[in-house]
């Protein structure tokens, strides 16, 4: 009798399902463990990825941009003397073909601020408020008023610094900087407003002035950086090189170079994600294998019987493998559905503000918003199917190797 492929498949399928059904309780437990493993992996992975991307967002958003262009020697000595001239038309022309959310030109120089009672070292950032929709500036909570435009000769500082300086909105502070002749200058600024941000470090160390007003005080027409932000969360591949080429006189630095510690954390999270996947799936594979070995041992008699009645070895092998595949497939679907549900639930983010200090130290946002990375999900899917095969292989081979005579005798 020549069996068709279809009938063979349906036979294997029927046998597998019945075998699974015979041990309902055990297989349900197995299914549940597969579902929870997959849900755990996917949900936690999304959280970790979310955190990782938020770290990048934070750096990019924190007045750095994805890519920052400086004069080549600026980073070793950030001073206005190491600036470059702003040519908006040229910049616009060169950046035309790049998919940018926007760009901003700024002056960033170190400064010392003095009030009646205190003196603090800070970074003064000269900005054009109309360009800053790409940075944290547009989201800062302001008390008082923010700079109206780039010629505004007032100053905005962080809440923490205001407290340290023991001064008030509307009062005057003195800022000491180095001008373009390398001479120290002292400038009196009226405090226009105060900002609150999630980072106390920023509040203490970053003060904002109008870009053109600052240029006047510094007796310079230069800016010290051109900052670019893309429409994507990460830098599109190859863009850094092409931007370097279009600005041959400037040094193009990506966020990884601006914040090497964070870049290191970012890379280690990448490694961590895969190590973690490997650990979970290894545990899962042994659980599966164990169950199927038990299943095969239980069925020694009937497998022996089937074989002695002429069932082909391959059919026995397929049968066990199919059982494993069915469990894993159901587990995968269940796990992904459950993950989807959980992610819907926590999609708004997990609030970590109770651990604000630690969160800030890690440069995280106070809310973790999960991010599903499809590459990781596809790795989970492929790994699950691959595991279903590997885990069932050993029990299946044992079943195949069973000598029908021995099996029936015991």
């Amino acid at each position: 009798m020549k069996q068709t492929v279809t009938s063979r498949v349906s036979l294997i399928y029927t046998l597998s399902v019945r075998n699974l059904w015979r041990q309902r309780r055990r297989n349900t437990i197995l299914l549940v463990s597969v579902i929870s493993a997959i849900t755990g992996v996917v949900v936690l992975n999304s959280l970790v990825r979310g955190m990782q991307l938020q770290m990048v967002d934070q750096v990019v958003y924190n007045l750095n941009g994805h890519i920052t262009l400086h004069a080549p020697d600026y980073r070793s000595d950030p001073a206005i003397t190491r600036g470059f001239l702003e040519d908006s038309d040229e910049f616009a022309h060169k950046l035309e073909s790049v998919n940018l959310a926007g760009w901003a030109t700024r002056i960033k120089v170190p400064a010392v601020v003095m009030s009646e009672r205190e003196t603090r070292g800070v970074q003064i950032i000269g900005i054009d408020p109309s360009q800053e929709h790409i940075s944290i500036v547009s989201d800062l909570r302001i008390e008082g008023s923010f700079l109206t435009d780039s010629t505004d000769n007032r100053i905005v500082l962080g809440r923490a610094l205001l407290t340290q300086l023991r001064t008030k909105i509307g009062h005057r502070i003195v800022v000491v900087m180095q001008d373009s002749n390398n001479k120290s200058i002292e400038v009196g600024f009226q405090i226009a407003g105060v900002y609150d941000s999630n980072s106390e470090g920023m509040e203490k160390h970053v003060i904002f002035a109008g870009k053109h007003a600052l240029q006047q005080f510094l007796k310079s027409e230069s800016i010290t950086e051109l900052s670019l932000r893309f429409n994507t969360r990460l830098i599109p591949p190859g863009i850094l090189e092409s931007i370097s080429q279009s600005f041959p006189n400037l040094e193009a630095v990506d966020w990884k170079n601006i914040d090497p510690i964070l870049a290191f954390m970012y890379e280690s999270v990448n490694a961590m994600v895969y190590v973690w996947l490997a650990i979970v799936f290894t545990a899962l594979v042994f659980g599966l294998m164990n169950t199927f070995i038990t299943a095969v041992l239980e069925r020694t008699h009937e497998i022996g019987l089937c074989k002695s009645m002429g069932m082909k070895s391959s059919l026995v092998l397929y049968q066990v493998t199919t059982e494993s595949l069915i469990i894993m497939f159901l587990g995968l679907i269940g796990g992904l559905l459950l993950s989807w549900g959980v992610l819907q639930l926590i999609g708004d983010g997990i609030d970590l503000s109770a651990f604000a200090a630690g969160v800030e130290m890690l440069n995280l946002a106070p809310k973790i918003r999960p991010a599903v990375v499809w590459q990781d999900v596809s790795i989970v899917v492929i790994a699950t199917i691959f595991l279903a095969l590997t885990a069932s292989l050993y029990p299946a081979i044992r079943a195949v190797r069973l000598d029908p005579l021995v099996a029936l005798r015991d």
Binding site: M114, R172, S184, V187
Partner: protein, 254 residues
């Protein structure tokens, strides 16, 4: 740190108080009065010996140093006590400053940011004292009161910073005697609350000129803390080597 800081302090005090000449009896405007107090030192040289006491609730520290000045731009300070600080020196030329410590045999140029800092444990800053010409440059001055005390006229001068002046104070109030001895210099914040003040404790005549012999700096935050400078010896119009105010001289032990 302390000695560097106290050096700054000494500089400032010196530049402000040394060498105050006799008054013309004509009526003066506030600007002229402050100008006389501040500008009399221009073009002159001086040599003085001082002791300084820094008082804190927990401890008191005394030190001594010698100061040479030329005009209002140049000054050299060298510590003579306590033994730990002997030889530490500071040179001011124009608006630049260097320090030298014999222990490390290094000359260090002080960054502007440090010069503008309040010094350790106190709210005295270099700016308060050494840059006193800012009173003429950045403030509107007015004589608000004239009183007679011990056969002298004492003028009370109020200094209000001009709009956007590089000045943190809300106002400064000076009490000046008609022989240009500064009796008191008070600093008010921008809510016009008193923050700190320098008061002359003792006036003495050195080399024919009346000067504030002992000055004490106090602040309203903590009345237990003060710093006092006392002149033990002052000479005016002394002969000084041209190379007195050089980095070479800063390192030397003359």
């Amino acid at each position: 740190m302390i000695s560097r800081v106290s050096t700054l302090f000494a500089f400032g005090l010196l530049l402000m108080i040394i060498d105050i000449a006799q008054a013309d009896e004509a009526t003066l405007t506030a600007e002229e009065l402050v100008g006389k107090v501040l500008d009399q030192t221009r073009g002159l040289t001086s040599y003085s010996e001082l002791t300084m006491t820094v008082k804190r609730p927990e401890w008191t520290r005394k030190s001594s140093f010698t100061v040479w000045t030329r005009g209002r731009e140049d000054a050299l300070i060298r510590f003579t006590a306590p033994p730990r600080d002997v030889g530490n020196a500071t040179l001011k030329k124009g608006d630049q400053m260097w320090t030298f410590s014999p222990k490390i045999k290094r000359t260090v140029r002080l960054p502007k940011s440090m010069m503008s800092q309040g010094w350790a444990g106190s709210d005295f800053s270099y700016n308060d004292l050494a840059r006193s010409d800012s009173l003429l440059q950045h403030y509107e001055l007015a004589i608000v009161l004239e009183q007679n005390e011990d056969n002298h006229t004492v003028y009370t001068i109020e200094a209000i910073p001009k709009e956007n002046a590089p000045v943190v104070w809300g106002k400064e109030v000076l009490k000046v005697r008609d022989d240009y001895v500064l009796l008191e210099h008070a600093f008010y914040d921008q809510d016009l609350e008193l923050v700190k003040w320098i008061e002359t404790q003792d006036i003495a005549t050195f080399d024919g000129r009346p000067i504030p012999k002992t000055l004490r700096m106090k602040n309203t935050d903590d009345e237990e803390k003060w710093t006092e400078i006392e002149h033990t010896h002052v000479e005016f119009d002394v002969e000084l080597d041209d190379n007195k105010f050089t980095l070479f001289s800063l390192r030397g032990s003359d």
